[in-house]
């Protein structure tokens, strides 16, 4: 079947199998920043934004995203760098395998979360696992980035 996706602001057309996921589409056009791990939408490594909201691309059917706008880390370079500086300052960058997915969730958080209190931030991040940092550095970095640090 044919679907249309805007990927990083570029209109594209794909001929897909019904079982193909957004992740499969992104790999087919050689976007390497998106990585798959759990293959079940649990770990958040494969997070991309669909119309500004985070989705697990590994288990999100491409057909379901038809007509939508997909954003990967490549398209938010400037903001990612800005946020990345805070991540770096707060010691949140360790093995960093999870980082691109995390950054995208934070980009979305900035536009979609109403209250930037710790509990709401932590709740928004719950779909992005990290095994190195204990999330403490992330929380500190996010609050600085959002300008809500005490």
């Amino acid at each position: 079947m044919k679907i249309f996706l805007k990927i990083n602001k570029k209109d594209m057309e794909f001929d897909i199998k019904g079982s193909e996921t957004v992740y499969d589409i992104l790999k087919s056009i050689n976007i390497t920043s998106v990585r798959k791990s759990c293959d079940s939408g649990v770990c958040g490594l494969c997070t991309v934004l669909l119309n500004g909201k985070p989705i697990p691309s590994c288990s999100y059917l491409a057909a379901k995203a038809d007509g939508g706008h997909i954003t990967t880390i490549e398209a938010v370079e400037e903001e990612a760098e800005k946020f990345g500086r805070f991540m770096n300052e707060e010691g949140a960058v360790q093995c960093a395998y999870c980082t691109p997915g995390f950054v995208l969730t934070v980009m979305s958080m900035k536009d979609n979360l109403k209250n930037f209190d710790d509990e709401s931030i932590n709740k928004y991040l719950v779909g992005n696992l990290c095994r190195c940092s204990g999330y403490q550095g992330h929380l500190r970095a996010i609050k600085k980035y959002l300008g809500v640090a005490e």
Partner: protein, 714 residues
């Protein structure tokens, strides 16, 4: 010099990692590369009677025991594990063959058509079965290791003790769950095997492959790629995958990549050893612990791996931070028909510290003593002897650290306030743990086995390249190593280069384990940098080397387990505060307070990252990370079942450093990474105990178990 090495700097690897540009194994592609997927045993124990392979499409291959040199044994410490099952299988998931080809769907299809016929053998699934079996998996007695450590005279103590207390403690499995799963690429070209991949120990892989393929040293090259976490899980296991991928590449004459799925990685790769520990303490009338008997049993799984050394560390740590003059410690690592237990942050110490910290608390409760006063009354101090009769040579700041933790956490005030709040139905609790971690290899590993060597290369543009085999896997080795060299040479950090190690370029400075990259290799880098500084103007380009020297005045007898098992000790105090739901018995961890003595911090930000991450991993181990094995299969084998802490499960973590520098560490640095894990499990269990007023002796602490204890007693 006037610079403070502890001041944090920007991590050089951060930018590429944040932008997604860093290339991990899954991102690397070679021309003509094939993929390999593993055919695994479906049963826990048995003989392979026959394997029927389907006819293969063009370009697809089966690689199995017939494609590897005899005797098909991979050397980790012992050579008991086949690279592909020879004729028996010893755990569910044991690799039998690889299916190799271009298209993953076709590979899956081939895998589904392979028929393996087994003859079942009664599997050994529990420690009890493993200790009493007549059909051992390993050796004559089914033990990978069977040791005794003695100090003083335990029998003499038995006669004069006024009080005796006995307890039994259990800890469960834990999966490393590094976010990047295991991955290796092998490329066999012109008679030379090159291995690329996610790893902690390039030379472990090189040496294992040299032995396995009986190759000359220049025919095996190992190159580390950006590695997304290890925690011990990429210490020994990558050697197995590398041998399989290499055999496949030799057969197919093309590069072969193996990257594990998450579920495959959770279920079949190495994990933390489950433990059963019995402790019996003898006390005098002043409640001084004058003797202790310990019986430590670790579940080693199907193959020996690193079990013997994990067991040693557990045994040497079993008396905790207490000066117990008479000890009898028995330790056994038992073979069972389950996935291999291997290295995981702390390496036996978390099991031991859980047991001793809970044990000490329970003794105090039994004899109506204030637990903290009782522990302080028994603390080690400088000059005391370790469990193996070595000497604690450096100042031990534990009393000061306890004081600091008490102030940070308002420990005493909360202890009494929570007691009152519990009367009103709010199940709040607070617990404290005291612990140490021995830096570097256990025993004389550095001196007798590793013999680390480092090189510094001064280039014509006046940059200096660090040539070591230790890897950056997230812990910050790239930054700390460069800092040590830049600081010593007094040159800007940008002038110091650290590339991912390639065994064709770097000497064997040993594995990336046990905090030795900073403490041991870091000190060698400092020495080499000192020499380079003195010889700087000698030539435009220069190579300076430094070799490991065992510090003077230390002694170790590895046969008798006597002397200094470690040359330095780091210390910690953790306080955990929880609130337990009075209906579901689920706990919410509110705050964690931590004080550490890690010698000199090389980079405070990296230290903080290790502290936060280690504590949370420890809390997962003690709380929500449940992994049970039933009839040889793990019940939790996907990321939906095996739960690691999320952002919603973590407490606020307040930490401070109170440090005593170590003479033989670079600028005084001691071990850090493992230490941060060791203390939070017992502190957590004790806080839950406090909240509920019952005794907890097992981790993970599960709500359903609490309910069981409350309903039926123990």
């Amino acid at each position: 010099m006037g610079r403070d090495i502890a001041l944090s700097i920007r991590r050089d690897d951060a930018i590429a990692k944040i932008s997604g540009e860093a290339k991990y194994t899954c991102d690397v592609k070679f021309e003509n590369m094939l993929y390999g997927k593993t055919l695994r045993s479906k049963i826990a124990r048995g003989k392979i009677k026959s394997i029927k392979y389907p006819s293969l499409p063009e370009g697809y291959y089966i690689v199995d025991k017939d494609d590897v040199p005899k005797p098909n044994k991979l050397k980790i410490l012992k050579s008991d594990m086949s690279v592909f099952a020879q004729d028996v299988v010893n755990y569910v998931g044991e690799p039998i063959a690889l299916v190799v080809g271009e298209d993953k769907e076709i590979i899956d299809n081939i895998l589904s058509k392979i028929e393996v016929e087994y003859e079942n053998i009664q599997p050994i699934l529990t420690l009890e079965e493993g200790l009493n079996t007549k059909e051992p998996i390993y050796g004559d007695n089914n033990l990978f290791a069977d040791y005794v450590v003695e100090k003083g005279d335990i029998n003499e103590v038995k006669n004069r003790a006024s009080y005796v207390y006995e307890g039994e403690y259990e800890t469960g499995y834990q999966e490393q769950f590094y976010l990047e799963t295991q991955g290796i690429i092998a490329d066999f070209k012109d008679g030379k095997i090159t291995i690329y991949g996610s790893m902690q120990c390039p030379y472990y892989i090189k040496n294992a492959l040299l032995d396995f393929f009986k190759a000359d040293s220049d025919k095996i090259r190992v190159v580390q790629l950006t590695t997304g976490g290890g925690f011990g899980g990429k210490e020994d296991y990558p050697s197995l995958i590398a041998a399989q991928a290499a055999a496949a590449s030799i057969k197919c004459k093309r590069p072969v990549k193996i990257v594990y799925d998450r579920d495959e990685d959770i279920e079949f790769t190495t994990k933390r050893h489950p433990s059963k520990i019995k402790l019996k303490s003898y006390l005098d009338d002043n409640f001084k612990v004058i003797g202790m008997e310990a019986d430590i049993i670790l579940d080693g799984g199907a193959y020996a791996s690193l079990s013997e050394v994990v067991l040693q560390r557990a045994m040497f740590a079993i008396s905790g931070v207490y000066n117990i003059e008479n000890l009898y410690v028995k330790g056994r690592a038992v073979a069972t028909n389950k996935a291999i237990s291997g290295a995981f942050r702390g390496f036996g110490a978390p099991q031991a510290f859980f047991a001793i910290e809970i044990h000490m608390e329970h003794i105090a409760k039994k004899f109506n003593l204030n637990p903290l006063d009782f522990k302080i009354n028994n603390l080690i101090k400088r000059g005391d002897k370790s469990s193996t009769g070595g000497t604690f040579r450096d100042e031990i700041k534990l009393k000061e650290m306890i004081k600091r933790a008490e102030i940070m956490s308002s420990y005493n005030e909360k202890k009494s306030r929570f007691k009152e709040e519990r009367k009103e139905g709010k199940l709040k609790g607070i617990g404290m743990s005291l612990f140490f971690h021995g830096g570097g290899f256990t025993g004389s590993g550095e001196r007798d086995h590793i013999k680390a060597k480092v090189k510094l290369l001064k280039k014509i543009d006046e940059t200096v390249e660090i040539l070591i085999s230790n890897v950056e896997m997230g812990q910050g080795a790239m930054t700390t190593s460069r800092k040590i060299v830049a600081y010593t040479l007094n040159i800007p950090i940008e002038k110091v280069i650290f590339e991912n190690p390639d065994t064709d370029r770097v000497p064997d400075s040993g594995p990336t384990v046990a905090s030795r990259t900073t403490v041991v290799v870091g000190e060698l880098l400092r020495e080499a940098a000192e020499e380079l500084k003195n010889r700087w103007n000698e030539n435009e380009t220069l190579i300076v080397e430094a070799d490991y020297k065992y510090p003077e005045g230390y002694e170790w007898d590895g046969d008798k387990f006597k002397g200094d098992a470690y040359t330095s000790y780091s210390f910690g105090v953790n306080v955990v505060e929880v609130e337990v739901d009075s209906i579901t018995y689920e706990s919410t961890i509110k705050n964690v307070y931590a004080v550490y003595d890690i010698g000199q911090a090389i980079d405070e930000r990296i230290v903080k990252g290790q502290i936060d991450g280690g504590i949370v991993q420890g809390l997962g181990y003690a709380g929500i990370e449940v992994m049970e094995n039933k009839e040889g299969r793990f019940l939790q084998r996907t990321s939906s079942d095996y739960i690691i802490p999320t952002s919603k499960d973590v407490p606020y973590i307040y930490s401070e450093l109170l440090c005593e520098p170590f003479k033989y560490g670079p600028y005084g640095a001691k071990a850090l990474g493992e230490l941060t894990f060791v203390g939070s499990p017992p502190a957590y269990a004790l806080s839950v105990e406090d909240a509920l007023g019952l005794e907890i002796s097992n981790i993970p602490v599960r709500p359903e178990n609490i309910l069981e204890v409350l309903r039926h007693g123990k």
